[in-house]
Amino acid sequence: MITTSLIIQTPPIGTIAGKEGLDLALVCAAFEHKVNLIFADEGIFHLINSQKSDLFDDKNHDKQLKALEFYDIDKLYAEVESLVRFSLTAEHLLSDVEMLSSSQINSLISQSDKIFSF
């Protein structure tokens, strides 16, 4: 089984890079890769639990995040250092997000066969 890690470092608003990263994550999962979805830097804003799509006049793709579990991507990872940088804590995030330090993320990535960054 192929382990694929996708690191999302771009925010959900202002660029579609993160959305396109999630699209690829779903396709990789459909091809039976074991997918690690890692959010770091401004990418952690994808995981904020209080996003309101009507405030930014476009489709909110947190629905896409919720679809992940149907593709067996049941674990989302957030980098602790990034959360600290933006004064965010677990209570701001969606449930079932696992927080990892950058060194833990490093080892997760080094155990992966394929790595993408968005």
Binding site: I16, A17, L24, V27, A30, F31, I115, F116, F118
Partner: protein, 150 residues
């Protein structure tokens, strides 16, 4: 006479040290806002020199913009479509663009144009439109190595 680029030489040395792999090249950077295409072209040339096999190059995100045949650049600037076309034809690999990423950026083929009642296709003939599944499948092949240029 042009001097041998030291970076190219370093990449070549690195590539010859690798066992034979199937290189999956992914280009996600914009042709006009990033170095991605130039770096990818340079890497592929070095890889080929080091006897590596390039099966295909996949374009995703803003990388697909390179396939827009309506691009008109000043004649003294590098024409990326010509570079990609020449390299892919000489070494027999496909240039694949993601259908979803290219459609949303106005890079469409004849079928898509007809489907949306748009006059004319904008996709350059050197490129093939494929789904993301193609990339996932290429990555699933044994001994494949993914390299992303962004």
């Amino acid at each position: 006479m042009t001097a041998v680029n030291p970076f190219l030489k370093a990449i070549c040395l690195f590539m010859t040290s690798l066992p034979q792999t199937n290189l999956c090249i992914l280009v996600t950077g914009s042709p006009s806002q990033s170095q991605a295409h130039l770096s990818a072209l340079r890497f592929i040339r070095a890889a080929l020199k080091a006897q590596q096999v390039i099966k295909s190059v996949f374009f995703y995100q803003d990388g697909v913009l390179v396939a827009n045949s309506y691009t008109c650049k000043p004649s003294d600037e590098l024409n990326l479509i010509e570079e990609w076309t020449a390299l892919s034809e000489a070494h027999n690999f496909e240039l694949q663009v993601c259908v979803a990423a290219s459609n949303r950026r106005g890079v469409i083929n004849q079928t898509e144009a007809q489907l949306n009642q748009i006059n004319g296709e904008s996709l350059h003939q050197s490129f093939q439109v494929l789904g993301l599944g193609q990339l996932a499948a290429a990555m699933s092949a044994p001994h494949s190595q993914l390299i992303q240029f962004k």
